[in-house]
């Protein structure tokens, strides 16, 4: 059996890669994908913990995260398209995310 901690570190690596993508990329679509990746890494964490604790709560949680991810993508892509029609660009630099 592969210990839980291995899964956790794997998912942490994926989470951080996703987070780096959100902060580093300017293309909104890729940012959406990175967020999806982050949610997936959380799912991995949850499932690993569910096995460790031998209860189903973690798996139920994963179910919900999947529902949320689907809803988020639907809404997010709708926003993206609306913005694209507005500005003909999804380059997030124009949005200037990090402006204080």
């Amino acid at each position: 059996m592969v210990p839980t901690s291995y899964y956790l570190i794997l998912s942490a690596i994926i989470f951080v890669i996703g987070a780096a993508g959100v902060l580093g990329r300017r293309n909104a679509l890729i940012i959406v994908m990175c967020v999806e990746m982050m949610l997936n890494s959380v799912n991995l964490t949850l499932i690993a913990f569910a096995r460790q604790w031998d209860n189903l709560n973690g798996q139920v949680f994963v179910f919900l995260v999947m529902a949320v991810a689907a809803a988020e993508v639907a809404v997010g892509l709708a926003i993206l398209i609306a913005h694209y029609h507005q500005s003909k660009s999804t380059n997030i630099d124009d949005v200037n995310v990090m402006k204080w």
Partner: protein, 170 residues
Amino acid sequence: MSFEMIFFILVGALSVGSAVGVVSSKVAVHSALFLLVHFATLAILYVTLNAQFLAAVQVIVYAGGIVILILFVIMLIGSAPLDTRAGYRNWVPYAGLGLGGALLAGISWNVLRMPAVALNPDANQGGVPVVLGLHLYSQNILLVELAAVLLLVALLGALLLARRPKAEEA
């Protein structure tokens, strides 16, 4: 090193590699394809964790739904949005790298100090649909109801944003 471990390392490496691919691709379509690979590797890992049903759902929802949706949008809005330049701003990646490194180090440090627990190979009865379904629709019925409201919001929202308002039609 056991077979399980070798398998985990292989799939994990593939998973990390595809994640890096998603982040670093210059072309969005490539990112989406990497994402597909990434989701698939995760589904495999779910199976190793006694979550067979979720592994199936993972493939259906993510690979079959979300990635297709993203590809669809890429086709819809073309290659115009794709960033051909380096795609990184000067200080954000470094800050992100620093914070990410710290996060990763912190989590790994915490995780590695976890006491070893005897794992039940049959944990969660293999995550079969019946068990999970019973659990979901009895104790956790509230969550299902809320998820329904959530999907309603998403539906309404997509409708509101995507449909042309009457004023514009006229």
